[in-house]
Symmetry: C2
Subunit: 141 residues, 2 copies
């Protein structure tokens, strides 16, 4: 049993929610894809496992997975939200290829430190941040 499933079960129990087949399928589908998929993408994969699964359930389950700390929403401003794994992952920024659409996860601790400094300079108390760099990846150049 994956750590995420354990957490999911614990979260559902704690909240008085139920572990349904659809939720199990969604967690499974979500964990198996390492890419940053949209609801549509996840829905298409989930449908292959269970023809009857509905879009609404995919949206709803992704919300639950977020609340449980298993998934994280990624919004790059192109009109559709994507989801990435959250549990056990460090904070990171994204390099996004405008040609093939790949998401590269990257982080530089020095940048993080300078961001904090920038906030201090403005008397600003940071809670979370987001950094996305759009460009062309190694393969597409």
């Amino acid at each position: 049993m994956s750590k995420e499933l354990e957490i999911f079960i614990g979260y559902l129990k704690k909240k008085g929610l139920k572990l349904t087949v659809q939720r199990k399928i969604m967690l499974d589908v979500f964990l198996k894809t390492e890419r940053h998929l949209s609801v549509e993408g996840l829905y298409n994969i989930a449908k292959k496992k269970d023809k009857s699964i509905g879009q609404a359930t995919v949206f709803r389950t992704l919300k639950v997975l977020q609340d449980a700390g298993i998934a994280k929403e990624v919004d790059i401003g192109d009109g559709k939200k994507r989801y990435e794994r959250q549990y056990g992952r460090e904070h990171h920024d994204h390099l996004i290829c405008v040609k093939c659409g790949v998401f590269i996860e990257a982080v530089d601790p020095r940048i993080e430190k300078l961001q904090d400094e920038l906030c201090r300079k403005h008397g600003f108390k940071p809670q979370r941040h987001k950094m996305e760099i759009f460009g062309v990846c190694k393969k597409c150049r």
Copy 2:
């Protein structure tokens, strides 16, 4: 005549587009507000100048202003796009207050440099980037 109006007129002429009263109003409204307003916000202000102005025109004109390099779209992932002045402004990041919603423009050249370095490390050729820090501003703390 503002530099932006000059540019706007030049852009329109170059593209075979027309300088209409609505476009003049929109540029005026856009330049007068220093805040990061959504279409709705700009629309409400524009309507005070000309009751008959339509939402579609506001959307359309903001697109033209972007193409002309006068306005810049800002999408912080809350479902509605905002617009800021672009012409004559340097690149900057945003500190966004989750309490009062203020946008603080900030930049640290060292961060910019490290971002380039991060891209190089991944064989990634950057085109543009976006950094937003959400938190609580000085006044709201």
